[in-house]
């Protein structure tokens, strides 16, 4: 059964949001979401890197790892592809687009260790997506992640001015807000599904 790339794109934003249903990329999600502006910066960087690396990893997997029976090396190879690509983007941006580099640059190193990027690559392999489906899943996953972090950052900025029980401050509170956002996103689940 072939799932249309459009379905995958929208499903990965709303119904199978990479952060709210697969819990990937939680670490930078919790630490950066204190401020709306840097959340947006990180989100843009994630969308870009995730879209490109999902295609790159798909190509590497299909045309290098599978023909040579190196399937078991995929964890190492995916991590190296992601790290190399992030490094490359950093150098290109610094050289040719210094303005963009100053807004996005600080977020790029964070992305190498963002498990959402590696997670997307691993899901592609397990779900046996083709090239277009991988592209759609990468782009949708990035947008979905950004949507979630923006929602949390917006709420956190408001909550900063209120009193939260002492033991719950910081991460605990962010968790509960995320849980409620995730519940809200379940409302979309009747629309489409890729599972």
């Amino acid at each position: 059964m072939e799932i249309s790339p459009f379905v995958i794109f929208f499903a990965s934003i709303f119904t199978s949001n990479i952060l709210l249903t697969n819990f990937l990329g939680m670490y930078s999600y919790l630490s950066i979401s204190r401020d709306l502006k840097s959340s947006l910066g990180l989100g843009q960087a994630v969308i870009f890197v995730m879209t490109v690396t999902s295609v790159l990893n798909y190509l590497v997997y299909q045309y290098i790892l599978v023909p040579y029976n190196l399937d078991y090396l995929r964890f190492i190879v995916f991590i190296i592809v992601i790290a190399a690509f992030v490094q490359l983007v950093e150098m290109v941006l610094e050289r040719f687009m210094p303005n963009l580099y100053y807004t996005l640059g600080i977020f790029l190193p964070l992305i190498t260790v963002n498990c959402a990027i590696l997670g997307v690559a691993l899901f592609l392999v397990i779900r046996e997506y083709n090239l277009l489906q991988s592209l759609a899943y990468g782009a949708g996953g990035g947008i979905g992640w950004t949507l979630a972090i923006l929602a949390l950052a917006g709420i956190r900025q408001k909550v900063d001015e209120t009193k939260v029980p002492k033991g719950l401050q910081g991460a605990g509170f962010a968790m509960i807000v995320t849980g409620i956002i995730a519940l809200a996103f379940i409302g979309f689940s009747g629309i489409l599904s890729i599972q």
Binding site: F75, A83, L122
Partner: protein, 215 residues
């Protein structure tokens, strides 16, 4: 010597527990906690990978050039994760399918890198191994707690054994993603409150943290 081991155990399991105190490694912590059995396998995997990565990093600490350190550590961790994955696929294929991509995602689990950087880099191999293993155990402990709550309320079972009788109406929400956030938040809350109370009893000032002080 002995007291050092006891100190590490106390820190990793409670006072500096990687999940509830340092909020590390929660990506996988939340995803695999719908069933207790998944959680235990994941916990054993993470403990072993952390222990052996710490051992290797510590053994190589004198000859490893500082500049390539991160890259080498990542490769060492990836090597052990691949071993775990292959063993799972060979002997427990059902479990491997249930955990899906989360076995591979052990690589980006910050606990492992954190222990390599913070402890193994400056300590002897044997104690690094112990430290890594105990950190993994601290992670497993919190995960198992979440999983027991979720499986018991979601299915009425623990490890697949029926605990709650027919009268129990399973909470569908406990099977779904949001409950993982709620349960972990509550565990963090309880843990923080207990420490606060202890500090109060000892007469020490309670850590104010980032408490918002309205004018």
């Amino acid at each position: 010597m002995k007291s050092q081991y006891r100190e590490i155990a106390k820190q990793t399991l409670w006072t500096d527990n990687p999940v509830i105190r340092q909020i590390l490694g929660i990506c996988s912590a939340l995803a695999v906690t719908n069933l207790v059995s998944n959680t235990l396998v994941m916990g054993i995997g993470v403990s072993l990978v952390t222990a052996f990565s710490s051992l290797t990093v510590s053994a190589l600490r004198k000859i490893m050039p500082n500049r390539v350190r991160m890259m080498v550590q990542t490769l060492i961790i990836a090597f052990y994760v691949i071993l775990v994955d292959i063993i799972l696929r060979a002997f427990f294929p059902d479990m491997s399918r249930a955990l899906g991509p989360y076995v591979g995602l052990i690589i980006t689990n910050c606990i492992i890198m954190g222990r390599c950087e913070a402890f193994a880099q400056t300590n002897k191999p044997l104690i690094s191994f112990y430290d890594g293993f105990m950190s993994g155990l601290g992670y497993t402990l919190v995960l198992a707690t979440i999983a027991i709550v979720r499986e018991l309320m979601g299915f009425g079972t623990i490890l697949g054994i029926q605990i709650l009788g027919e009268w129990w109406t399973p909470w569908t929400v406990m099977v779904m993603a949001p409950s993982a956030f709620f349960v972990l938040a509550i565990i963090i809350w309880v843990a923080n409150s207990i420490t606060d109370k202890k500090l109060h009893a000892a007469g020490k000032p309670v850590n104010k943290g980032v408490q918002a002080s309205g004018n």
